[in-house]
Amino acid sequence: MQVPEGLKYTREHEWIKVEGDRGQVGITHYAQDQLGDVVFVELPKKGRSLRQMEPFGVIESVKAVSDLYCPAGGEVLEVNGELERKPELVNGDPYGAGWMIRVKITNPKDLDKLLSASEYSAYLKQAGGGH
């Protein structure tokens, strides 16, 4: 499972890439692997404000439907509109073209509660999903 360095992770398998007070959010390689073929992604409207770990959308695969949780509280600046037509980007490139939202982080302290790449890898191993 790919767990890139430099990103922060949630226990619900979202990642956030922080640049200044901006963060880009998506789901991890492990999450897309567990879900299987993604068929639909529902994303929030621009401008919506989210609390940390508040559901910001829904992802549907052939197997299951799951909530998407925002790793850090903030305002939605941008959503990845391409996913509407091409949900498969989440499977093919979860850390790149499969990104979901960009947020303006209101409280940087939220980030302290997230996992580092090595902590997230250890968490996956413990959850039995690290194979």
Binding site: D37, V39, F40, V62, K63, A64
Partner: protein
Amino acid sequence: MSGTGNTIGTRGLVLNEPLIFEQGSPGRVGYSLPPVDVPEKKAEVLIPKRLLRDGIPGMPEVSEVDVIRHYTRISQWNYCVDLGFFPLGSCTMKYNPRINEDMARLPGFAKAHPYQPEELSQGALQLMWELEQYLAEVAGMDRVTLQPSAGAHGELTGLMMIRAYHTSRGNPRSKVLIPDSAHGTNPATSALCGYRVVPVKEGPRGIVEAKAVAEVMDNEVAAIMVTSPNTLGLFEEQIVEVSKIVHAKGGQVYCDGANLNSVMGISRPGDCGVDVIQINLHKTFSQPHGGGGPGAGPVALKKHLAPFMPVPTVEKKGNRLTFDFKRPKSIGKVRAFAASFGVLVRSYTYIRSMGSAGLRRASEVAVLNANYIQSQLKGTYHLPYDRHCMHECIFTDALQVRHDIHTVDIAKRLIDYGFHPPTIYFPLIVKAALMIEPTETESKETLDQFIAAMKQIAREAQENPDLLREAPRNPKVTRLNETKAAREPKLRWRPTS
């Protein structure tokens, strides 16, 4: 069992059939009307233009026999409980005895009109009145409304009554507790009733633990919604304690009764502290599961909630039965007319033909059958909760994953052996679940045949995994591209030209 040659479901005269839109020929009709004996006028002359629709492009022009053959042929591509084993977990696909259908077709029932006067409906009302008593007795409750049209509709009705009850005491409250082993409709019901959902994690044995409930229980919790037995097929052993904790803070206990099939005549939810429960007649009380209806999800309740029942209720005044619409605290109507009446006749017939001892026996055999399958397949497939189950058992693909074989492949291969696949990837709290519910209506021979097929599939996963990846091979349509179907859904036919 060797190969698939001798198994059921691999032979038969299955006819190919194009879409109805691709059949017929211009001018062909399925009727012949007598000549018009009044002057003919065009619709445009008689009806304002804004009320006329455009022509329907591609409307099939077919004869009666074309239509009959078309729908009969495609019906034969289908699988149903009258053809074979249908072990769909959480759905309780039991056989529906034919006597239910006979009774529902009695002209006095089948031809009753909802606006028929009460004095001419006494038989129908008596059936509803008696069915209420029977369901109340099975559930251990005081009253039952027969009106809700399905399980989820019953949930909504039940929670609306709970909300009305709290409101009448001054505060509707704001939260509902839902264990993650509950049915997925429970959070939706709570949200529709304006409540915030507070999840409760189940303990390591797969059941809700009283101490976890105590931690989140407070005076803002309107109710807990417990599914018992839960979606893991396990009885909620701490439900009595959970009920006490919830009641102590003024909350109500809602039980999702979708799995009542396994406890009839053995344990009564009302005796466990439950205040409201919906009963899925199409599961426990042998209703056909129709493609979307009509269904019935009666709600049984304790007497403190009776003032809030939807109208009308059926009441007995002397020897006369009557609909009562004058209930000032009622949540109102939840559907048109009184109920899905034909459905009630079938369940009434089932209860009367089984008797109380028969209902208990049905539950006992449902549990026995599930445990038989569980014990026979344990070791062949991974059993995430290794303990006795109720009416359904759950395996996973954990032992097959090393051959790159997944739950979906196992399910598809079962089709080649002539069985409907079990429920897969549900409940969500089990990774890659295969949820098997045999029901009480299957014989030991059928169960053994299913078990043999499952064992054979596990061997194939090791020795020839492509057999599974390419399954099913025998049916008319083979492995479908479910991803493409979901990403590019074609929901209706459109003319190609």
